[in-house]
Every structure is written in C-alpha cells, then in structure tokens.
C-alpha cells in the first residue's frame, strides 16, 4: 500500500448530533428498534464518491438513509407506493470519509426500525 488519492480521510463520526436531529425529525421523537431492517454496504468503498448501498425492511412505508460522517448527514428517503414489489431500494452515495451509514424505516404500524453499516473510505494505493 502507499500512494494516495485526494484528502478523503478516515476518522470517527463528528456530526453525530446532526444525525440524531435528522432521525428525530423523521420519527417525531419516537423510539427506534433494531432488527427487521437490513442495510448492505461494502466494507471498503472502491470509490468514496459512489458507494453502493441497499436497504430492505419488509413492512416499511418509508426508509431514510443517512451518512453520519458527512457534513450534512441526509442522503435520501424512499417512500413506497402500492405497486412496490418489496420495501427495498438501492442507490449510490457520496461518503466524505470512513463512517457509519444508517437506515431508519417507518413501518406500517407506525413504529421505527434502524440498521447501520460501517464503510471504510481509504486513500488507497499499492498492492502485491
């Protein structure tokens, strides 16, 4: 390893409160449970500018995606209509650095569920 891309650097989430605020705005302050929602993201981003993420939450009416380490955590919100074949979706997102991606689902019964995944954004270089 050892030759470098731009200054996209790793570190701990520095915008946790912004994420909490965004979740609270989505849930109206209701409690959020784990389980019943699956978030898939790569362990290491091949390119921090386009990181594939997919989320599935059976019984969800909408799912919000957040990037907890971006200056602005909001990423997207999927709202499912009557012709949705599954309560799932996939997209590609920008990650400024190593961080947790979080998905929060609003369920048909009004409850909320959450899942997270850590994506490493490395400056890269080298190899065998």
């Amino acid at each position: 390893s050892g030759a470098f891309a731009a200054a996209s650097l790793s570190g701990m989430p520095a915008f946790a409160s912004k994420t909490d605020d965004a979740i609270a705005a989505f849930t109206g302050g209701a409690s959020v449970a784990e389980g019943g929602i699956e978030l898939t993201a790569p362990e290491i981003a091949e390119n921090g500018n386009t990181v594939p993420v997919s989320v599935t939450a059976p019984g969800a009416v909408s799912i919000m995606l957040l990037a907890t380490g971006n200056p602005t955590p909001a990423v997207a919100t999927f709202n499912f209509g009557p012709m949705a074949g599954a309560r799932s979706g996939a997209t590609r997102i920008r990650l400024a650095k190593t961080q947790d991606v979080v998905a929060v689902a609003k369920m048909e019964d009004g409850s909320f569920r959450q899942a997270g995944a850590t994506v490493k954004v490395t400056i890269g270089g080298c190899g065998g």
Partner: protein, 109 residues
C-alpha cells in the same frame, strides 16, 4: 435545463401477472452539491436531481427524495409488482425546474 441529462432504465419486456420484477434506473447528471468551490473560490451553486418517482399504470411504486449526498448520475434499483400489462413511467425532478421523463411498456407473458 441542465445539459446532457439522459435517463436510462432497465425493465424486463415481459412478466407473468403477479410477478415482482427488478427495475434499474440511471440518469446522467452532475449532482452539483452546492459546497464545491470554483477556481476563483466562489461556491458553485447547488444543482441536483431532488426527486425521483416511478409509477406503474398511474399507481406509485417508489417516490424518492434525493439530497446532494447522492452520487453523480443517480442510480436506483427497486422492485415492482406487475399485476397486468401496462406502462412504467419514470420522472426525475431537477433543482432548476426541469422534469425528465421516460417510460417502458411491459407485456404479460
């Protein structure tokens, strides 16, 4: 209207009634985040696709709100129920007021 914006979609040509099919969509778009600066240090204004909607025969499949953290050339993959023959309609809404549309027909095999 932003230049060079081109939507593309992948939809099966046919399905059995009641099938769930996977749809993929891409639209070429810079997704200017509104935080980058130009050579003179001035902020380049935000210009993104802010909403994407997919419908089947007038009924909604998925309605997505996009933020600047969505990558250049926004990509979506999702599943749709095919109850009958008909037409999928895909709509992208640009910050600048432009609306881009495309549609695909599906047969019942």
């Amino acid at each position: 209207m932003a230049k060079g914006v081109k939507p593309r979609v992948k939809v099966p040509k046919s399905a059995a009634a009641g099938d769930v099919i996977t749809i993929k969509t891409l639209i070429s778009h810079k997704m200017e985040s509104g935080v980058r600066k130009d050579g003179d240090g001035n902020i380049i204004p935000r210009s993104i696709i802010n909403r994407f909607v997919a419908d089947f025969n007038g009924q909604n499949i998925i309605d997505v709100t996009l933020e600047p953290a969505i990558s250049t050339n926004p990509y979506f993959q999702f599943d749709a129920m095919v109850s009958e023959a008909g037409e999928f309609k895909f709509t992208w809404y640009d910050d600048d007021g432009s609306v881009y549309e495309t549609s695909k027909k599906i047969k019942i095999a």
